[in-house]
Symmetry: C2
Subunit: 192 residues, 2 copies
């Protein structure tokens, strides 16, 4: 039996995972336009050709790092149990704000880069998944949907304010957000 | 007295105003990256050199068209009278939503292009001016500020949903938004 390492499927997945982790850090630290695939390859200690083997373009790489973070976030905030919708929502919101606190810079940058098409698509996807999940829990028609979608924007605005000023606590952000949601869906005819 | 038209200050202002109006239309209809100064000059029926005389770059021109719209919006939503803060807010919100209804496509595009630095700056300026105005009216500290800033994002999210789906009325958007604001500032300790 040879000791030469075999390049198994796992190696490829592990390399991809490491590249995505590096990408999340680099895209947080630097402006998108300032990063080149050559620089990313250098930081990763691999050839540019190998980097292109994993990701066909910088924008595809950027989109993949966003998707990885979004998947992590969606998994963290998914609450699947028998508790009432309002309690699940609260648990999901707490998990979300805890995740944001751990990823402050990256999150602020992502929300602020909504004009980059790849970022806009991922932000919209996350908001859509979350909106559907909440609207299903609450029940209700177009007015509740509009209230929930507005509220997901509220969250991002309140989070940017929180990160920027740092003079309110995470629990205060949560309580204010819950107040906004309760007020919005009550006005939409669906008190929680 | 000669009949040769004199190029007065008014002509310059009027030309500038016309260029901004054209810019608002062109930037709404086409993607920012697809428009060149040469095309804009052609559409305006002037030379590229003259266009550059008014605006030193495409991004400066874009920023100026946004600022013009923002000034129009801020003027439309300013309510200076002796009514209580809550009534002024309601009047301002009604005026704002009416303006959005008249400028739907441009507004949706502006909100979605928040990653273009010029757009981000103008959006932030408008939100800051509006937030200060509302927070001054309501009174309150950091929690009310965070609630109001989050709420201005709520508005943009709810408006995009409204424009996209078209299945809720302007008054429903207003009532849902007011519910969100009331819920948020009440949670922040400042019931309205």
């Amino acid at each position: 039996m040879s000791h030469t390492p075999a390049y198994t499927r796992l190696d490829v997945d592990e390399r991809r995972r490491q590249l995505l982790e590096l990408g999340a850090r680099l895209f947080t630290e630097r402006a998108y336009d300032e990063l080149s695939m050559a620089q990313i390859a250098r930081e990763a200690g691999i050839s540019k050709a190998l980097l292109y083997h994993y990701f066909p373009s910088k924008s595809a790489f950027f989109a993949a790092t966003l998707r990885e973070k979004a998947a992590e976030l969606t998994a963290r905030t998914e609450v699947e149990d028998d508790r009432p919708a309002a309690e699940q929502l609260l648990a999901g919101l707490d998990a979300f704000l805890a995740w944001v606190e751990d990823n402050q810079e990256g999150y602020a940058k992502l929300v602020r880069s909504a004009g980059i098409p790849e970022a806009a698509i991922v932000i919209d996807e996350v908001r859509d998944i979350t909106a559907v999940r909440i609207v299903e829990g609450l029940g209700g028609g177009p007015r509740v949907r509009a209230a929930v979608r507005g509220w997901l924007w509220f969250l991002d605005g309140a989070i940017l304010d929180w990160i920027e000023h740092g003079d309110v606590t995470r629990d205060e952000v949560r309580d204010t957000a819950l107040g906004a949601l309760a007020g919005a869906v009550a006005a939409a005819g669906r008190p929680i």
